[in-house]
Amino acid sequence: MHAIWIITKRELASFFDSLIAYIMLVLFLGFSGFFTWLYGSNIFFSGQASLESFFNVAYWTLFFFIPALTMRSLAEEKKTGTIELLLTKAVTDRQLVLGKFLSTLLLVAIALLFTLPYVITVSCLGNLDSGQVICGYAGLILMCAAYIGIGVYASSLTANQIVAFLAALFIGLFFHIIFGVLAAGFTGTTGAVFSFLSLSDHFQSMSRGILDSRDVLYFLSLTFTGLFLAEFSLTKRNF
């Protein structure tokens, strides 16, 4: 447990040292702020004090940002060989994967923390449903966890960061849109399976303030599958 935290701390420090964290924060807040407050079907169009439009914007921006954050996690360690140094210290493969996962999740959580002024502003404009807001943020965090899991897995497959980025985006695209599109095209069991796999359906219900254990379970199982596969692909060197 201790080793995970040491790795998490180092990763977070390296995010901030290498400016990645600042660029990510500025771009994320810039994009989501622009589309939430200024452009398109922004927050003022809905006619009620709700953050739903922000959640929908964040749903897309985070989808693109997370692979950019996770792409280097294991790929860079593999490329430079530092993974060998880590894993010959008192660190297991699982602790390394979890450390990488946790550091990215913390960075995303920090980014989301900076959107709290949105909540305060909107709550000043009208009667904001606090349950919906909490549920929406929980949905975003869970979605991020799932994509970070996928991203860390993609990063474990290769020593090339670009490949890791594209692979994460490619896998993520299935959950983000393709399964949803397929679900609409099929009926019966096939349709139900695709609809269950589609991340957007689960996210939409959470961002509307509906807390369903099935949605939470969906995100958590996606996260754990990603992390498990990442660990598995690291242990493959042993065979």
Partner: protein, 307 residues
């Protein structure tokens, strides 16, 4: 801690990287691991450190199997990988502290260990610099420092002196020798004088198999098997001297050279020195030189690995 390697094998696809090797290293011993590129040195070392899974056979560290206890044994091993990978964006101090924490050095001790390593490896002037700003020699020192940060009983060093200048090489060798008194050290290298200077025992592997195992002296003897002497015998006719030498029971071959010099090859496991002396004394010849010819490690290495 003693390391015992028992019929260790490792296959990459259909190619054996390490093929049923067995050897032992005891506490206080420095083992030089020699072999051409791709002989299986690094693979063996990676298996000892627990980074690579063991193919066949097993490795025992103080009778505990690496197969079963790799995770708990890692604390007792310090490892410097080949090419010395490091986090280039970290400051030397931060990196060493990070390594100490990961190796489970208790927090009150960690700072002391970091300072100790910085002193020992001569990194004082560079301790606040980012590792990326350091020259190769200093990076190598950082690599050594991180390997020794938790005062491990076992040190596995994969080519520890590559990229160092001659002064640094001497320093690092001295350091390894000092450390080796109380620890178990395995170091791999291509530089043959290095093993002669630092190692107690030499292990040469080729194509995944051990081809020689012993001290530098025993290896040169094994390689030749026979004593070779260079003698200079004056005040006599070279032809009759050569004939008389050939007549000695302990001499097999005499090759005369210029200026009354002779190269004399003795019988297996015997010495002709005394007989040569007595022969010269009885004939009234003057023996001005008698030099045993040592087989250089380079020759042994080439003989054993070039086939």
């Amino acid at each position: 801690m003693n390391i015992r390697i028992d019929n260790l094998s490792k296959w990459y696809a259909t190619q054996a990287a390490v093929d049923q090797i067995s050897f032992e290293v005891k506490t206080g011993e420095i083992l030089g691991f020699l072999g051409p590129n791709g002989a299986g040195k690094s693979t063996t070392m990676k298996m000892i450190t627990g980074y690579l899974g063991i193919g066949d056979g097993d490795i025992f560290i103080d009778d505990r199997s690496v197969r079963q206890f790799a995770d708990s044994l890692k604390r007792h091993i310090g490892y410097l990988p080949e090419n010395n990978p490091l986090y280039l964006d970290m400051a030397v101090m931060d990196y060493l502290r990070f390594s100490a924490e990961l190796q489970g050095v208790a927090r009150p001790m960690a700072d002391g260990r970091v300072r100790e390593m910085i002193r020992l490896c001569g990194l004082n002037a560079e301790k606040h610099k980012n590792i990326g700003e350091l020259s190769k020699g200093y990076r190598q020192r950082v690599g050594l420092a991180q390997a020794m940060i938790h005062d491990p009983e076992i040190l596995i060093l994969d080519e520890p002196t590559t990229g160092l200048d001659p002064n640094q090489i001497v320093d690092i060798r001295k350091l390894i020798r000092e450390l080796g008194k109380a620890k178990t050290v395995i170091l791999s290298t291509h530089i043959l004088p290095e093993v002669e200077a630092t190692c107690d025992r030499i292990l040469i592997i080729n194509k995944g198999q051990i081809v020689a195992n012993g001290t530098a002296e025993t290896l040169s003897q094994q390689a030749r098997g026979q004593e070779v002497l260079k003698a200079r015998i004056e005040d006599g006719d070279p032809g009759s001297i050569a004939a008389a030498l050939r007549g000695l029971p302990s001499v097999i071959l005499v090759v005369p050279a210029e200026a009354s010099r002779f190269e004399i090859q003795g019988v297996l496991n015997g010495s002709a020195k005394r007989e040569i002396f007595h022969l010269c004394a009885s004939k009234g010849w003057v023996l001005t030189e008698l030099i045993p010819v040592e087989t250089r490690l380079e020759d042994i290495f080439r003989n054993l690995t070039l086939n």
